[in-house]
């Protein structure tokens, strides 16, 4: 008997991708009875599900971000590479290389295998395990950067540009916008790898997630809060690097920094108009998503005859896959952010004045 095609045992509901025999959703957009969560970014990990299955790291991140009691009434930790059987569906979590704890959800039912990759990247990241390609019948991929203009340079290249700017402007602070979960810690690790051993200064929003990473054994070096100026109108931290959520430079909080060079670490910084529109002085092309070349290489590596695309620039990826003899299908999932792991800028700084 041939294995059943994955579209016979999964379907798209208003909440997102649903596994029929298993009775659970994967990364649902709103609260459901049972959810498997690929990673802790807020557009994948929503609050108030009944039961949540995820890696131990993702569960810890969800609890830290959503608050005790809102990260699933019932939590079940499934470490990487261990298999759990739910109503005959085998569920295995495999590293996705996106952020700490990020996983591809591998589902097997009656000899048919579906891999839901969540968000992923192929570039090295010292703060999480690398992506592993799992051969499958259907591969579900994101397409955030699915245009051939998106090619991310190696991170050390961008880190050098940042350090070069710090050397050139010793009288100015460098305010680097980066998402609090994943990007921030990867950038810190990249700076440490480049030999930068001065303290790094964190906006309050970044600090708690960094502490969580450090408790999980990822060393980030000396991290300090951004001090207040001693007297009114004075500024602080010339020559230092400050990490803050994107757009923090627009808040009065940023006025305490010495004539800051505003930098932003994002894959979108590849395109000038995007960088210009954000008013960024030093765009850094650093992304936690696969670029165009890596999307195509990954689809080839998993050898899937069919690829489903969750969100992003589906049409370009599907067009390119067709030219390679792979069938593509757009899932049109709602509730996914175009920005990389976008989280609302925390309210702290408006209040802080």
């Amino acid at each position: 008997m041939p294995a059943p095609h994955p579209d016979s045992w999964t379907r798209i509901t208003p909440e997102g991708l649903y596994c029929e025999p298993g009775g659970f959703h994967i990364d649902p957009a709103r609260a459901v009875e049972r959810a498997v969560i690929s990673h802790g970014h807020s557009d994948h990990a929503r609050p108030d599900h009944g039961a949540v299955l995820a890696t131990p790291e993702t569960l810890a991140i969800m609890t830290a971000r959503l608050g005790e009691g809102r990260a699933g009434r019932e939590q079940q930790a499934l470490p990487y590479h261990q298999t759990l059987v739910q109503n005959g569906v085998r569920v295995t979590l495999v590293p996705a290389g996106h952020v700490l704890g990020s996983a591809q959800v591998v589902l097997e039912w009656r000899g048919s295998r579906l891999v839901v990759s969540g968000d992923y990247k192929r570039q090295p990241d010292p703060t999480c395990l690398p992506f592993e390609a799992v051969p499958c019948d259907v591969f579900v991929t994101e397409a955030t950067f699915a245009l051939p203009v998106f090619r991310h340079p190696p991170m050390r290249h961008e880190v050098q540009r940042l350090l070069d700017s710090v050397r050139l402007f010793p009288q100015r602070a460098h305010l680097v916008g980066c998402y609090a979960l994943g990007k921030c810690q990867r950038l810190i690790a990249g700076l440490r790898e480049a030999g930068y051993d001065r303290p790094l200064f964190l906006h309050g929003a970044q600090a708690s997630m960094c502490r969580l990473y450090e408790r999980r054994g990822i060393a980030l070096g000396e991290l300090l809060p951004v001090p207040r100026p001693e007297k009114r109108g004075a500024t602080v931290l010339p020559g230092e690097i400050v990490l803050a959520p994107p757009s923090a430079e627009a808040n009065p909080w940023a006025r305490r920094l010495a004539d800051p060079v505003t930098a932003l670490a994002s894959g979108w910084m590849r395109v000038r108009q995007r960088a210009k529109a954000r008013g960024v002085e030093l765009p850094l092309v650093i992304s936690d998503h696969a670029d165009w070349d890596d999307l195509l290489a990954t689809c080839a590596e998993v050898e899937a005859p069919e690829v489903w695309v969750t969100h992003g620039r589906e049409e370009a990826l599907i067009h390119a896959l067709a030219a390679r003899g792979v069938r593509g299908r757009a899932l049109h999932l709602i509730g996914r952010e175009e920005d990389e792991g976008a989280d609302p800028v925390p309210a702290e700084e408006e209040a802080a004045g």
Binding site: P148, R151, P153, A254, R270, R272, R313
Partner: protein, 534 residues
Amino acid sequence: MSLPAFAELLERLVFTPGRNAKLALMKRFFATQRDPDRGVALAAISGELSFTAAKPSLVRDLVATRIDPVLLAWSHDYVGDLAETVALIWPEPTHRPNRPPPDLAEVVEALELAPKADIPGMLSEWLDLLDPGGRLALIKLVTGGLRVGASGRLARQALAEWSGQPVEEIEEVWHGVPPPYLPLFAWLEGRAERPDPRDAPVFRSPMLAQPLEAPDVAALDHTAFRAEWKWDGVRVQASAGPGGRRLWTRTGEDMSGAFPEILEALDFHAVVDGELLVIRDGEVAPFADLQQRLNRKVVGPKMLKDYPAGLRLYDLLFEAGEDLRALPFDARRDRLEAWFARVKPARMDLSPQVAFSSMEQLAALRDGARAAGIEGLMLKRGDAPYIAGRPKGLWWKWKRAPLAVDAVLMYAQRGHGKRSSTYSDYTFGLWRADGEGGEELVPVGKAYSGYTDQELVWLDRWIRNHTTSRFGPVREVEKELVLEVVFDAAQLSSRHKSGVAMRFPRISRLRPDKPAAEADRLETLMAMVENRPE
């Protein structure tokens, strides 16, 4: 590695708003790059390099052989700019040639010498050797679309700060030395004497005036001064002789290409200082007309006919190679008048001297002058030599009192650089009938200066507390706050929704005491318009 270094410099200049930061970037570039590359880069920044070696269509054709056309079209739609799309999308070669990326000077020389048929091959070879930033710089360079986030003037300021030589001397020298300016760099590094520009049409740093404020007026000995009208045009220097002809802005930008009719009229051997204006039948047109002619690379016959340019002269710096700058102003004026009577240059006239016998009389003349094209008066000491820069007490500009309206704040935008967390740019409006029996506000201008630091803090807080909606960096606010806005002139404009444009509006006073309904009406501003058709 210098094309990548140049590309990185361009990239940072594009995104860097601050003048000092731009200077720091350029100083380091000139200090660390070698000859002749840094000189070629200086030429590129100053707009002295222009290639038409490749049309944008050639670049499009090159990439079309390597990229799926559908993906190329979608990418172009997304990125917007063709050169940038090609730079980003160019496939990395599977076997990267074992060669360093080309030098900037190597590229420029090859482009100058190569037969046209060889250019596509050369271009794709270089593109294979470069990273995306380098590819973008290369494509912009060869297609003549290079836009630099810094002026040539600022680049020369960077040279001055780096070398310790005065910028006025660098200005004089650099126009007389062709790219890549090896003698210039040798002088700046103390390895050679200062190059001598001789007869080349170089730019001489102009003499500038200080603003005359009320307290200075009383102290002025009016008998020592001569008066002229201050024209509302563009200050220029025309330099002509056996070495060539040039028209410079007062910051040393070459604007010869935009004013071919003026260049044609420079059939003499002299350097003159004057005001560039649009003049019809002897009448000076408002500044908005001159604006139509500025910043153009090519000028069509219709432009030349509709917006005829002329030069109103007020000083003579060189006559047939003789430097007159050490002479007193009165003597230079005599030489100017004699020279003008003899040479009778086309498209030029003399800026007349205004007779007066007291400061009171002069003040009355200044305030009475509301004609288009006049901004106020210039006062020049009769015994002053022509000194580059802004020497104290020799030349004064005495602008007429500004016009003012009370307007209502409508939108606010965050500034750049140090002001990126502060709402510092304000769009304001005036009342008019909305055609349905009510009143509406129509935006009439935008201002981002004039206020004090304390007023800025107050405004920023007011805006954050009275926001009704947000669009990116812009906030719409409750229509409650009255601002007193002063400006130099009002002119009819079809480009503005209100039909009127203000010259140099700035915030002079905050009027939180005044109810918004009592702010001025659009008719009040319209009555101040100068170029009203009769």
